[in-house]
């Protein structure tokens, strides 16, 4: 009951935050002088192509770029009636990409969920690797296990991702016959989902997951080790040992539970850093994720495209923090019962 109420409350605060974020994104994108179309018009006029100018002027009207900024924002969000009535994000219309001359939804299309898939895989990889290694390193601190995992971890942190990507591609292809680049076999692109397509995607995911996840995993492992070491010195651990618990069971039941909180809280923060951090990797690996598209859109002031992608990343982050908050409340009774009369 407490949980459900909290989840509902948390959902509404998330919506509110999303609204604030949308304003921020819109303002920041419009901060540089001019917009894509006015830049284009100026360019066309300089070269004397009046036909193009007319089209650009038409587009300006069509997408309300001639109106005031607050009006533009409201129309973009779908709170206000534009030239064609209510047609904004809320109504499922993501706008027009001037750079690619296609609707935004068409450009992002597949890449949206592929981004989610790649990053989810990377996050799962981070947790799957960091958890056991971090606990091991703490439990066996100052032994060769600790030193080896620290060494490998620092190596992972220090190696540039794109370099790691190239190396892995080379050896992965040579010894395991792993595919190079892309997120699926080219023959499946644009095809509806099928068993074969899924298999192809999974095989293609191996290298990117590893590349994107390595540095995050080694950073998390080191932090988990430090947190665990702090907890291991606490009296309740002694109590557990004095009960006669076996070390592995004791470690996972008591100190890990306490040391784990910051890592649950991290879920939300991992997403945006992975999306923006994996741009270079996506370019090198030829992944159809949203990162490279975002980079192009920002460079060319393609405002509807970049705004939409930023909103999408913000949404992922907010959902991530919401999930981690709800998980924390489930995991930690101290948060759950805050203010309850003892």
């Amino acid at each position: 009951m407490v949980m459900l109420r909290y989840a509902v409350y948390r959902f509404f605060t998330m919506l509110l935050t999303l609204l604030v974020v949308s304003v921020l994104i819109f303002v920041i994108i419009n901060l540089p002088p001019g917009d894509y179309l006015s830049n284009q018009i100026a360019e066309l006029q300089a070269s004397g192509q009046s036909a193009g100018v007319a089209k650009a002027e038409f587009l300006r009207k069509e997408y309300s770029l001639d109106r005031s900024l607050p009006e533009q924002y409201l129309i973009w969000m779908g709170f206000w009636s534009g030239p064609h009535g209510f047609e904004g994000l809320l109504q499922g219309n993501y706008g027009w990409s001037f750079e690619f001359d296609r609707p935004v939804s068409e450009i992002v299309g597949d890449t949206l969920w592929l981004t989610v898939v790649v990053n989810l895989a990377a996050i799962l990889f981070v947790y799957a690797v960091a958890l056991p290694l971090g606990v091991m390193a703490a439990a066996k601190s100052r032994t060769w296990i600790d030193y080896t995992s620290a060494f490998v971890g620092y190596l992972g942190l220090a190696t540039p991702n794109f370099l790691l990507a190239l190396i892995l591609f080379y050896y992965g292809h040579r010894y395991f016959n792993l595919p190079i680049g892309g997120l699926m076999d080219p023959s499946f692109e644009g095809q509806p989902m099928s068993w074969e397509k899924l298999k192809s995607i999974l095989v293609h995911l191996i290298v990117p997951t590893f590349v994107i996840g390595t540095s995050g995993a080694s950073a998390m492992m080191q932090r988990l080790r430090a947190n665990m070491l702090d907890e291991l010195g606490k009296p309740y651990v002694e109590t557990a040992i004095a009960k006669g618990m076996a070390p592995s069971r004791m470690l996972t039941k008591y100190p890990l539970r306490v040391a784990f909180n910051p890592f649950v809280a991290d879920i939300g923060n991992l997403l945006p850093s992975m999306v923006s951090g994996s741009v270079l990797v996506s370019v090198v690996l030829g992944l159809q994720t949203i990162g490279p598209t975002l980079l192009t859109a920002l460079k060319t002031q393609d405002q509807f495209l970049s705004a939409f992608i930023l909103m999408f990343v913000a949404l992922l982050t907010l959902i991530g923090t919401m999930i981690s908050d709800i998980l924390l409340v489930m995991l930690d009774p101290r948060i759950r019962y805050e203010g309850r009369e003892a």
Binding site: K234, P235, Y236, E238, T239, A240, I241, A242, K243, G244, M245, A246, K253, Y254, R257, V258, L331, D332, P333, R334, Y337, E338, G339, R340, E341, A342
Partner: protein
């Protein structure tokens, strides 16, 4: 060989360093209590932990044997494998620790943590274990075992948590319980009750107990056998009575001399003089509002302090005594101006006998500067009250720099002078705090407080983190400073015996109210209030013939509704503080 646990020639060391426990031997007979007594660093804790092999990782048992000989057979605890040790821990030998607040996992329910012992050692099912644990909870005195079973540790008080720990240790019915300072972190009345409980359980089950403690009073109340340790060696060992009555070893004698005691002679104390008051608190109250987390519930008011009137004459010591949460620290913080009292309360401070009083909570800038120079504080924990990154000299001259007093050379000379005054060497100025022991650090804190030549020092439990012999030295130092410089102390403590020695007047606080106020002689000889009586009764005396009177403790330490009609108070009806004889005030209905 009939001893339940027999320790022979035990030596323990860290890494390659010298042994910290050397050739320690003792026997624990079935059903008996053996007290391991000593100060910090004596090796008492390490020795008893060696029995369960719960030692820091770098510590090794270098020689000696520990043999357990209970009804389940004989086990050589120094030679068992780690896996075999697990079958001993929590099953045949249990242990409870010093800090009940931190000895239970904050994230698991109490019932789960206690039942775990039975799951581990008896293979009990969840339901079976629950039944046995509820039964055990009932025996250790939980008023509502089922509710406690489903509570988290942070929902219970310290005393209740220690009861939960005891239940955890007892539920597997071990024949030996090791208790490492089980009551040191508890209030004195709670300590009395917990000790009483352990004794009672021992009578019921016939279990033997190793009690590690620094408190001779606790020893006198609990032990049949005593082992006195100092710097890793056994100084004296044997039956409790002869050792406590007539200690043979000079070190034991020294411990006795250092232990402060409540005087039992008849005496009438002089009331605090009424002229030349340095500090005067009138009608001081402090109410905190605890915001309710649920919007529809009203905020909760917490009365930390209610209508406190106190006077402190120049050159005297006023002590405030009470358990945690009694409001004693809040009162002291208000006296120092660190906290604003509720409307209507007033604190007056006179820098010198002739000067106009300063209203502490309504000062001009100049008055504030003067007040800050004349009123200083010494804190409880000498380990965290000095910055580890500042040299002693910098820490000591900082107050002078803030108030822009003197040149650098003058400041340094002053710091050197103060160090000598508190019994340290002036060539220690260049050192960092980590190079000092706890007692030396507390001397440093006092020296720092003295740097601005204050007239009033607020001491917040200045000796409760220290060993008895060090405590004795610090108290002597405080007395000497007072005599030499005509200082006034506002002394906060939970320890009546310490207060008995240093105070000119004692105010006993409970739930934010002063319940009794008198000179110490009067208070200890003729206590009137049930709570004061309970406090005095709960104080463990190092005299085997004067055990704690648990009935008296139970009578006064409970909630105010359980007191006699004359003293009872509730949130709405509060009796006033009545002066029964000159200088002796008791809160009661006349």
């Amino acid at each position: 060989m009939s001893a339940l646990l027999s320790v022979r020639d035990l030596s323990i060391g860290f890494g390659s360093g010298p042994s910290v426990v050397r050739d320690v031997s003792f026997d624990v007979e079935p059903g008996q209590t053996l007290a391991l007594v000593g100060e910090s660093g004596s090796g008492k804790t390490i020795s008893c932990r060696a029995a369960l092999r719960i030692l820091p990782r770098t510590a090794q048992i270098r020689s000696g044997t520990i043999v357990l000989n209970d009804s389940k057979g004989t086990a050589n605890l120094t030679e068992l494998s780690e896996r075999q040790m697990r079958g001993i821990r929590g099953n045949r030998v249990s242990m409870i620790f010093q800090e009940p607040m931190r000895s239970l996992s904050p994230l698991h329910k109490i019932g789960n943590q206690v039942s775990e012992v039975l799951w581990l050692h008896r293979g009990a099912s969840e339901a079976e274990a629950r039944k046995q644990v509820l039964n055990q909870f009932d025996r250790v005195g939980f008023p509502d075992p089922a509710r406690a079973y489903d509570s988290y540790p942070f929902e219970l008080s310290g005393g209740m948590r220690q009861r939960a720990m005891i239940a955890m240790a007892m539920v597997s019915k071990p024949e030996l319980l090791i208790a490492d300072e089980p009551t040191t972190a508890l209030d004195v009345t709670t300590q009395a009750q917990v000790l009483g409980l352990i004794k009672e359980l021992q009578r019921e089950t016939g279990m033997a107990l190793i009690l590690v403690t620094h408190d001779l009073g606790v020893v006198a109340n609990m032990a049949e056998q005593v082992v006195v340790m100092h710097k890793g060696r056994v100084m004296e060992a044997g039956p409790a009575e002869p050792i406590l009555n007539k200690p043979a070893h000079p070190y034991t004698q020294q411990l006795f001399d250092a232990a402060p005691q409540i005087p039992d002679r008849e005496a009438v104390g002089l009331p605090m003089p009424d002229e030349d008051l340095i500090l005067q608190m009138t009608g001081v109250s402090k109410t905190y509002t605890m915001r309710s987390s649920k919007g529809w519930k009203a905020d909760k008011l917490i009365h930390a302090c209610r209508g406190v009137d106190m006077k402190l004459a120049r050159g005297k010591t006023l002590a405030i005594v009470g358990e945690s949460g009694s409001g004693k620290t809040t009162a002291a913080r208000i006296a120092l101006g660190a906290e604003l009292p509720d409307l209507g309360g007033e604190v007056l401070f006179r820098t010198t006998g002739e000067s106009e009083p300063i209203t502490v909570h309504n000062m001009t800038r100049a008055e504030r500067t003067a007040f800050q120079r004349k009123a200083q504080m010494v804190f409880q924990d000498p380990y965290s009250s000095l910055s580890p990154r500042m040299r002693i000299q910098d820490a000591m001259t900082e107050p002078l720099e803030i108030h822009r007093l003197g040149t650098t050379a003058e400041q340094r000379d002053k710091a050197a002078e103060m160090l000598q005054r508190v019994g340290l060497n002036s060539d220690m100025l260049k050192r960092y705090p980590h190079a000092f022991s706890g007692g030396q650090r507390q001397r440093l804190s006092i020296a720092r407080a003295m740097m601005l030549d204050p007239a009033l020092i607020v001491c917040d439990e200045p000796t409760s983190a220290l060993d008895v012999s060090v405590q004795e030295q610090i108290l002597t130092l405080l007395e000497n400073l007072q005599d030499g410089l005509n200082l006034s102390y506002l002394f906060i403590s939970h320890d009546l015996a310490v207060v008995a020695r240093i105070a000119d007047e004692v105010a006993v606080m409970r739930r934010g109210l002063v319940v009794e106020q008198a000179p110490p002689e009067t208070l200890f000889y003729n206590p009137r209030h049930p709570y004061t009586k309970a406090l005095i009764a709960a104080q463990p005396e190092p005299d085997i013939n004067r055990p704690i009177d648990l009935k008296l403790v139970a009578l006064g330490a409970g909630s105010p509704d359980s007191w006699d009609d004359a003293f009872r108070f509730s949130d709405t009806v509060i009796p006033s503080l009545v002066e029964l004889e000159p200088g002796h005030k008791v809160r009661c209905h006349v």
